[in-house]
């Protein structure tokens, strides 16, 4: 598995990086999208992409920069979603407390971050493949617990009618406001990850990934660093989780069921865990497949239910042939093209 690629050194802080034209184009497309895309695209496709992208981004941060493949991120997101339903308002009046939004949002994020941190503290005691197994096991424990517990998590049925607050007189569940809300949050989270990756904390995390023993011999508390990275990732995941519960207007154990947990991994890996943009690419591919593959399958005379098969096979093919995801494919393709064009100087970047 390839790791996050080395970039320009921290020693020259690149505050005003020269942003390639393609980024400006992307920004323009994203900002103007409501003008030319329909509500379904805005809400179902793009909104969902951003939300899943954020949750997968938190996995990318841990896996790409920290070398820790954590499968707990979806559970952390769901935890935040549950807390919004519990401390805010929902259709389950017995449990929900109906606090104002400026109270329940921070509470939700803090509780989810504590949850993620505790799991991280358990998981970092082991390494590599063990992290995957342990976080998967804890994620499933969370799923079964929410399904069994009725006093807090309202068991099987969960919470319905969980909607965003009517802030500034805007209904944030309307397609256009929701689109901009998720776009804004995703942009912030993306920016935060990119920024932190070059800050001492992020650099040190990459050092821990490459060589934990040396990091200790440089004066770093490796365990504390790993646990702190879980906290940071949990905050990102919980923002995604809050948006997710608002989009669906409900949350239930299945939100963080094993298939959902695996989906986040699939998304991050499909996109590529070497760069923060990867999870969003993966999420877009996943959402497009998920939304449109039933039609395609039906057109080929197969049942629309075979969608999972399609995703699974695509995922398999990808990890077989390009362990670093679509981003890796793209980079290799570009490198080959550049080589062909100019054998002396190599790539253009």
């Amino acid at each position: 598995m390839a790791l996050a690629e080395p970039r320009k050194s921290a020693v020259q802080p690149t505050w005003v990086e020269r942003i390639p034209a393609i980024w400006w184009a992307l920004l323009l497309v994203l900002l103007t999208m409501p003008a030319w895309a329909n509500d379904f695209i805005l809400f179902q496709v793009m909104g969902w992409t951003f939300v899943l992208g954020m949750i997968a981004l938190s996995l990318m941060f841990l896996a790409g920069y920290g070398g820790m493949v954590s499968l707990i991120q979806m559970s952390v997101a769901a935890m935040a979603g549950y807390m919004v339903a519990i401390f805010g308002a929902s259709g389950v009046g017995d449990i929900s407390m109906g606090l104002p939004w400026w109270l329940y949002i921070p509470i939700a994020i803090v509780i989810a971050a504590i949850f993620g941190t505790v799991v991280g503290a358990l998981a970092v005691r082991t390494e590599g493949i063990y992290t995957i197994m342990i976080t998967l096991a804890i994620a499933s424990a969370f799923f079964y617990f929410t399904r069994q517990n009725y006093t807090i998590f309202n068991g099987y049925s969960g919470f319905n009618l969980v909607v965003p607050p009517q802030l500034f007189g805007v209904d944030w569940r309307q397609p256009m406001p929701f689109y901009y809300l998720t776009l804004g949050c995703a942009g912030l989270c993306y920016g935060a990850v990119v920024y932190v990756s070059r800050a001492p904390f992020g650099l040190a995390l990459q050092g821990v990934r490459d060589n934990p023993r040396r990091m200790a011999a440089l004066g770093f508390n490796v365990t504390a660093h790993r646990v702190a990275s879980y906290t940071f990732a949990s905050v990102i995941a919980s923002i995604g989780g809050i948006l997710l519960v608002w989009q669906n207007a409900q949350i239930a154990p299945g939100t963080a069921g094993i298939p959902a947990v695996i989906d986040i991994l699939v998304i991050a890996v499909i996109g590529g865990i070497t760069r923060p943009i990867g999870p969003f690419i993966g999420a877009l591919i996943y959402v497009l497949l998920r939304t449109f593959s039933p039609d395609v399958l039906l057109a080929f005379g197969l049942s629309g239910e075979r969608f999972k098969l399609l995703v699974g096979l695509g995922f398999l093919a990808l990890v077989f042939f390009s362990p670093d995801g679509v981003l890796g494919l793209w980079e290799r393709w570009r490198a080959r093209r550049a080589r062909r064009r100019d054998p002396l100087t190599g790539g253009e970047e």
């Binding site: 050194s9 921290a10 904390f201 650099l203 990459q206 200790a216 004066g219």
Partner: protein, 262 residues
């Protein structure tokens, strides 16, 4: 954000011992890699450790830095009992080391490697803010890079460095912050003659309050940079003395110099 060791600690450097080992033993299963090592290194002292392959020199270093916890015995660093301390606590007290087999961050650039080393022994290890251009640590990192002649490779990923350059970088990492005792594990191995004399210059140019212990197979190098010598054999200390004493010692010559070491 910037500076490293509180002033109070620095003032205590000149007095007392940098390192005191008492009865330190490390077992790997049934094998005693080192057994019952008792050793004192004064502050600012420069000592060479010699010994054939497998004598336990690296293991001794690993116990001192806390890479491994010793099976028995006590380790005092600058007067403080650090036997059970994790490695990072010892490093923060002014201990540094290099590794016999380079342990670097291959995914990061040279500058990032050295910057991390500087950051590790200062505050702000968890800082979420990117360093500013005027950050003193960045200037310090650049000095260290220049000291080991890597300034032209500053933004190159470590994986692309030559073997000799990686050895140099190892040394730069060990000089970060305000070291008081540095453990060099065969820093000259695999260096070209030029690099070797540069290394000797660096060692000889270190300020007087910085002591070091150097493991070195090359007697010529060892005797030029050390004022005392410890000979190890089969996990125990075999002889201690000045370079002249060791060189002229009959037993040492039979054991070590006699059978034509590599």
């Amino acid at each position: 954000m910037t500076e490293t060791v509180p002033a109070g600690r620095l003032s205590s450097v000149s007095s007392g011992n940098a390192l005191e080992l008492r009865g330190v033993t490390k077992m790997f299963g049934a094998l005693a890699a080192i057994s019952d090592i008792t050793l004192t290194v004064r502050s600012g002292e420069r000592r060479a450790v010699l010994g054939s392959n497998g004598a336990g020199k690296t293991t001794l270093f690993n116990c001192v830095t806390g890479d491994f916890l010793p099976t028995g015995g006590t380790i005092r660093l600058f007067g403080e009992d650090v036997t059970r301390f994790p490695a990072y606590e010892r490093i923060r007290r002014g201990l540094r080391r290099t590794y016999q087999i380079s342990l670097l961050f291959n995914g990061l650039t040279v500058a990032d490697n050295v910057y991390l080393a500087c950051r590790g022994v200062s505050r702000g290890r968890f800082s979420f803010l990117r360093p500013r251009e005027s950050d003193a640590l960045i200037a310090r990192a650049d000095e260290l890079i220049a000291a080991v002649h890597l300034q032209d490779w500053r933004d190159i990923s470590v994986a692309n460095l030559s073997y000799g350059q990686q050895r140099q970088l190892e040394i730069a990492l060990a000089l970060a912050g305000a070291p008081r005792l540095i453990l060099f594990d065969e820093p000259a191995a695999g260096l070209s003659p030029t690099e070797r004399s540069e290394l000797i210059a660096i060692l000889q140019g270190l300020p007087g309050h910085i002591g070091y212990i150097i493991i070195e197979h090359d007697m010529d190098v060892a005797l030029r940079v050390a004022e005392s010598v410890t000979m190890m054999h089969n996990g125990t200390i075999f002889k201690e003395g000045t370079p002249e004493e060791i060189e002229n010692d009959q037993e040492v010559q039979e054991l070590y110099l006699g059978d034509g070491h590599a």
